[in-house]
Symmetry: none
């Protein structure tokens, strides 16, 4: 029986090894190799056609070259390779980003073994797989029904980062070379835009959305 080849990309060696072993127990699949980050995968792909698999299981948070960048590279240069995101992240914006750059599936790491197997089969044979939450997200996204994604501009992002420090707004104003009143404005706009009540809300939003990393 011809098995579909799989490559796993994850910076946590132990996990990629463990998942590789698991995938190898699946009847229809065989792990070609694993990578620690996107750069390693690019190198492998480029070295020989032998190293181009049918499916890539892609983590998102990785050093050097993350899952989004890597997926973008794959779909540009190897359109026949199917990428499935495999992440701990449940953030709408992250999922949408992965799908936008060409991932055809998105699995959370807290799914069951059987779900992973089904997903791999779907992807290898039908070319797509989506969990319910992703499907719903896509529906919402298409129908414009879902939360329209909140986009912060550069200055707002800069402000948010400062807001996560122990600086007062006045001090933030000084650093950003703006009037305290302008900073007041930034804050007020973001309060309504992000739907938070106070500075703690800003901080939490920034952390959850990776604007600031503690």
């Amino acid at each position: 029986m011809i098995k579909y080849s799989v490559v796993i990309v994850d910076d946590h060696t132990l996990l990629s090894q463990a998942i590789a072993a698991m995938v190898n127990t699946f009847e229809k699949f065989k792990v070609l190799y694993t990578c620690k980050n996107g750069q390693e995968l690019v190198d492998q792909f480029s070295s020989s056609p032998k190293f181009i698999p049918d499916v890539v299981l892609m983590d998102i948070n990785m050093p050097i070259m993350n899952g989004i960048e890597t997926t973008e590279w794959i779909t540009k240069n190897h359109q026949d390779v199917n990428v499935m995101a495999l992440s701990v992240e449940d953030e709408d914006t992250t999922i949408l980003k992965m799908l936008k750059v060409g991932a055809i599936g998105y699995l959370l790491k807290d799914t069951e073994k059987s779900v992973l197997e089904n997903a791999l089969v779907e992807i290898a044979e039908n070319g797509f797989y989506h969990t319910k939450n992703v499907t719903n997200l896509l529906m919402k996204s298409l129908s414009g029904n879902g939360k329209e994604e909140i986009i912060l501009n550069d200055r707002q992002v800069a402000f948010m980062k400062h807001a996560c420090s122990e600086l007062t707004y006045k001090e933030i104003a000084d650093i950003m070379c703006l009037s305290p009143k302008t900073i007041d404005g930034y804050r007020d706009v973001l309060f309504t835009k992000l739907n938070v009540k106070n500075r703690v809300g800003l901080v939490m939003y920034a952390i959850k959305n990776k604007i600031y990393t503690p």
Copy 2:
């Protein structure tokens, strides 16, 4: 051959299943079951002595009951069980906390399969295992070179958690059934104790030290 029994605690089902499968390939080990969080483990332990393993592989970041709280519970109630932390975290304070509450080993998730096996053998047979970075950390800590640890009591921890929400101090006072002035006191004490300037500082401390998980 009698195998050591292992329990794996990790909120990412796929990962705990994969690691479980891996551990089951180790000659001397056998996975009893896996848990999604500390609460599940406590329930299992409490239900029957059959479900008390030789070794627990413990993730740190988990919902409901995290690795630190869970390890503390285990070492209090089941001193014969050896806990090894298995985390993506490389933070000194987190590692120290895990060791403080009784973990006898600390492994990062980006280690090799063979390292995990060796570590398990060491733990099961000798009762301890430490990677070099942990050993160095302990040396520093013992020689008094490391920062002396800050201990918060239960009510301070409760306050800290509330401080990470968007509640005002007055609202926190209501929830905790204390006078707003008492809450003022808690805050002021923690400001100096944790060496922070304002509420954002409290929030950051709480997050970094896993008192609050965003």
